[in-house]
Amino acid sequence: MKIKIDGISFDAPEYFTILDAARFLGLNIPTLCYHEGLSPGGNCRLCVVEIGKGDRTKLVTSCTYPVEEGLVVRTSSERVIKARKMTLELLIAQSPTSKVLQDLASKMGLKQVRFKPKWESCINCGLCVRMCEEQMKAKAIGFVNRGNKLEITTPFDMESEDCRKCGACMYICPVVTLRCHGAHPESVLCSGCYNSLQPTCTSNEDNYNCWMGLKNECGTCYNGESNENINENIK
């Protein structure tokens, strides 16, 4: 497949996506909901690139678009940058505490967020859902509702029997894993990220090893309450 990407002619294998081709060539396309081990979702829209020639160009997500013969791609046209920045602005406003998003903002030079912050702890990127289904083969969580009511949860918001509490969802989550609170003025070190790598919740649950470091905020621990109690609480 002969394609032209940012002016570079390239003969890409048939199974390549635009993102594969770009990465192969060392061209940087920011991604958020993309992960090599998972199927591409196209949810976050940060990896958009412009394809086509002349007036008939359009934006597509590079992570899902397969290369085709004669494809012309621009990975950082003005239109692309504008769209990416606005998308990131929307995402950061949704969840300003995400370190991944904040890092992307610094990298992309986002200077302002004009929307009112929502302080949510999920940006619905769907990484956890794909992780749970494709790698952990559990299908314990999924999307519920739609539009402004969309959320990721277990069926009927109840504890899932399929969930093995492996924590893969938390591991891959760009919002919750590394919640940066900033450096403490006294110690200069922020110490948040380091702590999150420690198994801190072992006292609550003996059967598995938790790496989340959020001390009961993550929702996978139940403060030592037995499952029966939880079920009662739900009722």
Binding site: L90, A93, N148
Partner: protein, 1077 residues
């Protein structure tokens, strides 16, 4: 019946049905689609059946229950075949009459269709303009088909395309026909159907199966053409699907239909079963080896499932979220098999093309967009319903010719096409031919065919907010841009509609919109910003009004408007507050509230044109609150008890001198407020009396002079100096005033010069200008009118055009009626006749005046215009008139009167008063360095009343042309604020605030019984002086409400101001206080 198992058998079966002799019994067609049933078609059907059975008429007349015939406005109706006589909006009790008439082959004219303002009766369906201008290729068929009877469909020529295709199942031929017909997807995007089929046919991913899907997930608000076709003619869709199946080699079809369409589901299920029974569907169809069956899948109501990939997921039983394309469904669709998805209407067109041949089909429509398209025409339009027109028809034709124009009196300002994915198209672009590209170009889309008509009572910000709210709920949420973007658009629009928006918000919307369009995954997101971007593009003014002026022209946005009465009032009177106070019997407090914003309270309580009442929410579906009469009750109470008759002048003036020229409502208001601020104001008046038009123009029976004096005394008590008999241009100049130390001048000299008719003979004796007559009559001067008096009012086209620009429509014809009534009262003529060139409908605000004139015996000739004056020895003898009829709608939104040729007639008259309009007299202002319009009005900055000359301000009628009193008072208030800003060295700029009452008044508690009474209560009638007592004197006609009436009327108020966030907070506080205490 027996299953048909060969093509020959099928051909002979079809032939036998078609060859059956025609049945000429009269048939009642009852349209009973979902819309028909909702308006009572089932009752009509039952009544008809019962009558036919009871009277043993079943051999003389038959009934056919069909799907919707398109004209939903006139449902329920009976259509009588074979003549197609139509009885619209039928009541059950009229059914027997209609059936009797049909059996006797008679017609009942009074029950037949009529356009609102037309006397013409339209007897048959074809004659009705709504149907006449359509090309009903698809919808026409519904009339002959009872959707649950497959034989009806055969009889109407159905399955002939199927017969053609099954006898010659050549895929290439079918696809080439469809391609040649240039059929494009009717679901909205307009993808060439032939090409899609070709791709689907050629697609071979080795999976072995292929699918056809009929997309009937029609979720746009205001669109229902797919439902109609599926309900009314399901076999047509089945036929289309089989052809599609054969063309691409599919073995299975799905009809994906919303569960909200139970009737469509029922009818298509029955139709599929019948088709299977006959052998048209199933395995090895007619022994040809072709398999094709159809299954119905019900959608659960998500709008996004109309999108191809989401629809596929939904059919697969998964969550209805779109997938990124490519791969396209024709390559990889349901369970990975190639899938061809077509809209209902697209499939409905397929049998038509196969039957007629592509060459015939492309004769309708325009290049690139062939055939017809069904639109659902809804909203503020006279004829709502489904409209089928060739592509390329202009919007104007659809809206005005077929739709019949606006439903109410307001002018149509835009239509929304394509529902929430489309945009609005403003009225200026109505000449646009409707096709896929043209609509795209103006920022809208064809969409599935919804057309929502909007008039001036629709707020475009509100519309945009409505659609983004719909979309933020219906976006699947999978891709971030669409999910977050629609929510943020809605958030920003909510802010704007609640008066909290900024200009940066507007920029942000314009930046955000294109990104959502660009970066979204599916069609929903890619079109979601259209409603917002289109309204900003075409109605930017409305957005800016909301943001900067805190105004919502349509009086819709609740947080901006608070209560429509206060919002509409040009002088921001706290209507809701004083009405609430009257309801609580606190009359003195009410009067205080009134006087706070209005120095002419007593005057305006009698002669205000009360725009507040026109917008009153109680008036929607009931009578508006008699706001003006309540104000009069409070002011009369004040006069009786001598309350607030004077105001405290400021103790010490600031020594700055201001000159006000003209002592009309505008000048005196400005003087009043400036005096209260501490300025030394001098009012200069040309006449010997003050009050301007209030004294000269308004007759005493409407405004008693002692009432006028109350307000004038009140204003004077603020401490201004008044110089009468002092005329500008004669006794002084503006420059002279400035030399004398006046720092600022406010010009308000009014508009007193009567306009001329511009017809031959106007200059003779006996023809009197309206203002001259009125002023003489009002000042008690003797004036000889003779026995037969005629009054011409309303003006000519040129004058009308001027008025529109000057926003003075409401005052039109007021002087005409005033002159007529005054003439009758003072000079005892034998008869008084008004000649008006429009109809009573066109006199908007002063209906009570028109009624009053009628009561007093004044004759009004509507639709009459003068042609020439006939003279005798240089004196008026008679006047020749011509009759008019209403023609096309003109720029003012009213129908323009046009002369009827040869209808001239002559009326003998002693006096003819010409009061078509007035213009300002500016002869004395020529050399003052001011600018004037071509209508002699002075040009100012309407925001501040500042003229082109610094320090010189102007307001009132001399700026607007003849206008209402309250507008003049408003101008005086604005001017006083601007002058203060100017004199204190601030920037002269109008400040805008959200409308809010000065205080919230606790609502009156009602018992349930009292509440029931109030809900159904009519407006309290103003007691009037009897018409006998009125003759030949100037006694006031309106007598004022009694206390009991006033309280009852005030209690009727709906208290809109309590519906805002602030108002709700007040109510909540009240509750808390009650709970505590």
């Amino acid at each position: 019946m027996k299953k048909i198992s060969s093509i020959e058998e099928f051909i002979s079966f079809r032939k036998s049905i078609l060859n059956e002799p025609a049945d000429n019994t009269p048939t009642l067609v009852i349209s009973a689609g979902t819309c028909g049933q909702a308006s009572g078609a089932n009752d009509i059907m039952r009544a008809a059946k019962r009558y036919i059975l009871e009277h043993h008429l079943h051999e003389k007349v038959s009934i056919r229950v069909t799907g919707c015939l398109g004209f939903c406005q006139i449902e329920p109706f009976i259509l009588a075949e074979p003549e197609n006589y139509i009885y619209p909006n039928l009541k059950t009790e009229d059914v027997p009459r209609v059936i009797k008439a049909i059996v006797k082959k008679e017609i009942i004219k009074e029950l037949m269709y009529r356009e609102n303002d037309d006397d013409k009766t339209y007897c048959t369906l074809e004659e009705i303009p709504f149907y006449k201008y359509q090309t009903r290729t698809i919808l026409k068929r519904n009339q002959k088909i009872d959707p649950i009877r497959v034989f009806n469909y055969f009889k109407a020529g159905g399955y002939s395309a199927f017969e053609k295709v099954i006898s010659n199942p050549d895929q290439e031929w079918i696809i080439s026909e469809i391609k040649k017909a240039e059929l494009r997807g009717r679901g909205g995007a307009g993808f060439p159907t032939g090409l899609k089929w070709e791709n689907a046919r050629n697609s071979n991913n080795g999976s072995g199966k292929k699918f056809v899907v009929c997309n009937a997930d029609e979720g746009d608000p205001g669109a229902y053409m797919d439902r109609n076709v599926l309900e009314g003619n399901p076999q047509l869709i089945i036929e289309g699907m089989i052809i599609a199946g054969i063309a691409i080699g599919a073995t299975k079809g799905f009809v994906y239909v919303r569960s909200e369409y139970p009737l469509a589901i029922k009818h298509s299920m029955i139709a599929i079963r019948q088709a299977r029974d006959i052998g048209i569907l199933g395995e090895n169809i007619l022994s040809t080896g072709i398999d094709f069956d159809i299954e119905i899948v019900r959608g659960a109501g998500a709008f996004v499932c109309g999108e191809e990939t989401a629809l596929i997921k939904s059919i697969e039983g998964k969550m209805g979220q779109p997938e990124q394309r490519p791969p396209y469904p024709v390559d990889k669709g349901i369970w990975g098999h190639p899938t061809c998805i077509n809209n209902v209407e697209t499939l409905a067109n397929v049998p038509v093309i196969i039957n007629e041949g592509a060459d015939e089909y492309i004769k309708v429509g325009m290049p690139g967009a062939r055939g017809t398209k069904i639109f659902s025409l809804v909203g503020k339009i006279k004829n709502t319903g489904l409209v089928e027109v060739p592509l390329g028809t202009t919007i104007h034709e659809v809206v005005n010719k077929i739709g019949g124009g606006p439903s109410g009196k307001s002018k149509i300002k835009a239509i929304q096409t394509g529902g929430p994915s489309g945009g609005c198209i403003p009225e200026e672009l109505f000449d646009l031919p409707i096709n896929y590209e043209s609509l795209n170009k103006v920022g809208s889309i064809m969409g599935s065919g919804g057309m929502i008509v909007m008039d001036e009572s629709t707020c475009m910000v509100d519309i945009a907010k409505y659609f983004t709210n719909f979309l933020q709920e219906e976006s699947c949420g999978k891709c971030s841009v669409c999910r977050e973007g629609t929510q943020r658009m809605n958030e920003i629009l909510t802010n704007i509609s609640e008066g909290r928006g900024t200009m940066e918000d507007l920029t942000l919307l314009e930046e955000l919109g294109p990104v959502i369009k660009d970066a979204s995954m599916c069609g929903l997101g890619q079109t979601a910003p259209n409603p917002v971007l289109a309204t900003i593009k075409y109605f930017r003014e409305e957005y800016i009004d909301h943001i900067i002026k805190k105004k919502c022209k349509a009086t819709v946005c609740k947080e901006i408007v608070s209560s429509p009465c206060q919002y509409t009032c040009p002088i921001n009177t706290d209507v809701s507050v004083y009405v609430a106070l009257i309801a609580r019997k606190k009359y003195a407090e009410a009067l205080e509230v009134i006087k706070e914003t209005n120095p002419f309270a007593s005057v305006l309580s009698r002669i205000c044109h009360h725009p507040c009442e026109n917008k009153c929410k109680a008036g929607e579906g009931g009578d508006p609150i008699a706001i003006r009469d309540l104000k009069r009750f409070a002011t009369d109470y004040g006069i009786e008890n001598n309350l607030y008759s004077t105001t405290e002048p400021v103790k010490k003036t600031n020594g700055i001198k201001v000159a006000v020229i003209g002592s009309g409502p505008s000048g005196l208001t400005c003087s009043f407020y400036l005096s209260k601020m501490g300025y030394e104001v001098t009012v200069f008046e040309k006449e010997s009396v003050i009050g301007g038009m209030l004294t000269l123009g308004i007759p005493e029976y409407r405004l008693p002079r002692k009432i006028l004096k109350v307000d004038l005394d009140y204003i004077k008590s603020a401490g201004m100096e008044i110089k009468t008999d002092f005329a500008l241009g004669e006794d002084y100049t503006i420059d002279g005033l400035l030399d004398q130390g006046y720092k600022s001048v406010f010009l308000a000299t009014g508009s007193h010069q009567s306009l001329k008719l511009g017809i031959p003979g106007e200059e003779v004796e006996g023809v009197i200008p309206g203002m001259q007559a009125l002023a003489a009559l009002n000042l008690g001067k003797k004036i000889e009118l003779g026995k037969r008096v005629g009054i011409i009012g309303g003006g000519n086209t040129a004058v009308d055009a001027a008025r529109r620009v000057l926003r003075a429509e409401t005052s039109e014809s007021v002087t005409m009626i005033d002159a007529a009534r005054s003439a009758l009262r003072t000079t005892k003529p034998e008869n008084v006749t008004i000649f008006y060139r429009r109809t009573i409908e066109e006199i908007p605000a002063y209906k009570e005046e028109v009624d009053g004139a009628g009561d007093e015996g004044i004759k009004i000739e509507y639709l009459t215009a003068p042609v020439r004056i006939i003279t005798n020895k240089g004196k008026l003898k008679a006047c020749e008139f011509i009759r008019m009829k209403l023609g096309e709608i003109d720029e003012s939104g009213r129908r323009r009167p046009v002369p009827i040729k040869g209808s001239e007639f002559t009326v003998e008259l002693d006096t003819l008063i010409v009061s078509i309009s007035e213009s300002p007299d500016i002869s004395f202002l020529k050399n003052e360095g001011l600018e004037f319009s071509k209508w002699d009005t002075i040009i100012i900055d309407p925001e501040t009343c500042l003229t082109k000359r610094p320090g010189i301000f102007a307001g009132g009628d001399m700026v607007t042309g003849p206008n209402t009193v309250v507008d003049a008072v408003a101008a005086g208030k604005i001017a006083s604020e601007s002058i203060d800003q100017y004199l204190t060295g601030k920037e002269v700029k109008r400040e805008y605030k959200l409308t809010r009452p000065s205080k919230y008044i606790e609502p009156v508690e009602f018992s349930n019984k009292e509440l029931d009474e109030l809900i159904s209560a009519k407006r309290s009638e103003m007691p009037l002086l009897s018409s006998e007592k009125r003759k030949y004197n100037l006694m006031e006609v309106n007598q004022g409400l009694t206390e009991e009436q006033a309280i009852k009327e005030a209690k009727r108020c709906l208290r809109c101001e309590l519906e805002t966030i602030d108002g709700k907070k007040f109510l909540k506080n009240l509750e808390e206080v009650e709970e505590r205490g």
